[in-house]
Symmetry: C2
Subunit: 322 residues, 2 copies
């Protein structure tokens, strides 16, 4: 252990890292080493003042205290700083043919009703009906059966169920499973673009940065099946005014869709009125193996660029020190 | 503004920074640029997983929710990560002859009683009496008169007044002023080494890192007088078992003192029993001008090492871009 005395701007970092180095969890030790390095470099490079440091302390405190059972302000903060998008990209790398992922956002819940194909997942009478027809395949083009799919979207006012103080239960969200042909379909409403919650500290930060809080309209999807890499993604409506200025950086061109109108044949087959808005999409999941190979390849490259030999512990990289 | 689409591990950082660049406050813009860079580099270098990111989100949330009127868990977190010590060193640089600063800690309050020289600032009957005799001078050796001095210390159980749920009011703390000879003196008790609050998330983190939560015994001092750089410091007892392993990195050799025993002459002069423990110290404050010159010099050096020309806005550096 280091002798902790006479620490100053030049030696505090190495000594903090040494002090943390008794940690037996090598991954945590590596995370703490990088965290302390970056935190200290940030302060040194900006010459952070005591007053600014205290503003930061107070800001983070309010962010924590704005969180409750249905609001996660730290996720919002991560979202508007581009961190959430980055983490998804690191943790779920995709080969070119696979469906891209995007930010989870703070509105997923674990209490959605399980529904059957064709069910209506929104009870909002003011929403514009939207028929959604999808397929789910693996990267070799084979249908994936029995995949659990979480779907959630806004109501016609651009809000999720959990944003209504008087809500009775889950709405605008459901869980369903793909059939033997990889098909799943349901009746929804057209999602609406909306501001992320901006009455808290994250909203104040956006304002100070002269940024708007809006997200283009989208519908969220999350796919989970053993053997496949979890896919968290969303489909965005082409032409939305916020299509290229999403407050949380989530839009990808491959996830932008055109709504069309159902013709008579489709309308009859799926029991909707002719002319109802239609969204279709063919999702492609990668296997756990494809994802972990790609993740390992990229991790190795990133850590070697730092001049570190790498080994992997439960799929996560740590420096390989002798 | 950038077109925010198809963001990935390689381009998210520059685009997040561009998105924040409409901010008119140049200092805030610089802070955000460095914050986003370091946050993203941290994630990229560690290949942070979604699960680890979520643990971080949950950890910070609990830290925020552990804060209340008398507990500041984010300051504790900053303390145990070495950040608080670093910020003090950056913001209050000291020439060699001046009294060094150290961490403020989370136990300073603004409700201490104003006392006169010779008053007892602790009512704890179990504390070992300690006579404290100090002088306060500028860097040319001239006495500083009328400086406001906040002093605070633990009781005989190693706790500050605010850590007692049933406390009646301030105790073990006071505010006093130096006299025309720069002298101030008071009766206290011997401070006791203690663990920082470790029943919350910061305590759990220390445990995971196999670190103890103890601070060596010390007495806090804060000096404020217009024209002089604020000094936040503390005097540590030599020989304390935690002298070289302070959980918050605060000990400096120049701040470690030996307690002696009062002889008859001193005891009579200051109205204490002969043999009472005695602590003496000669504090030296630097002027605002000395501090800001040194701060600017060091800031310039630090930012130029980053390859940036610097200008100063209200004493704080920002890159000087044309």
């Amino acid at each position: 252990m280091p002798l902790l005395k006479d620490l100053n701007t030049e030696n505090i970092t190495e000594n903090t890292i040494l002090t943390n180095s008794s940690c037996e969890d090598l991954r945590m030790k590596y995370l703490m080493e990088r965290l302390v390095s970056h935190l200290h470099d940030f302060a040194r490079e900006t010459r952070l003042s005591t007053r600014e440091w205290m503003s930061g302390i107070q800001f983070l405190t309010v962010v924590g205290q704005t969180c409750d059972e249905v609001r996660q302000e730290f996720i919002l903060l991560s979202d508007i700083l581009g961190l959430s998008l980055l983490i998804d990209a690191i943790d779920h790398p995709k080969p070119p043919h696979a469906t891209e992922g995007t930010v989870l956002g703070p509105f997923h819940t674990h209490e959605a009703e399980e529904m059957s194909h064709g069910d209506k997942m929104s009870s909002d009478p003011d929403g514009e009906p939207l028929l959604v027809l999808c397929t789910l395949k693996d990267s070799a083009g084979r249908p994936i059966e029995g995949c659990k799919i979480d779907i959630w979207e806004t109501d016609s006012t651009g809000r999720y169920d959990v944003q209504h103080a008087d809500r009775k239960g889950p709405d605008g969200r459901c869980v369903m499973y793909s059939d033997k042909d990889g098909i799943f379909w349901f009746k929804a409403i057209k999602p609406i673009s909306y501001p992320i919650p901006h009455d808290g500290p994250v909203g104040k930060l956006l304002k100070a940065l002269r940024r708007h809080p809006y997200r283009p309209s989208h519908m969220h999807f999350m796919f989970e099946k053993p053997g496949y890499d979890n896919l968290i993604t969303a489909l965005y409506a082409r032409g939305d005014p916020y299509e290229t200025s999403d407050a949380v950086f989530g839009v990808k061109d491959s996830l932008v869709v055109d709504y069309t109108q159902t013709d008579r044949e489709i309308a009859e087959k799926y029991d909707v009125e002719e002319g109802t808005l239609l969204m279709t999409y063919d999702f492609v999941l990668v296997s756990d193996e494809e994802a972990s190979d790609l993740r390992e390849q990229k991790s190795r490259k990133a850590l070697e660029a730092l001049g570190r030999k790498v080994k992997f512990l439960e799929g996560l990289p740590v420096p390989d020190v002798d």
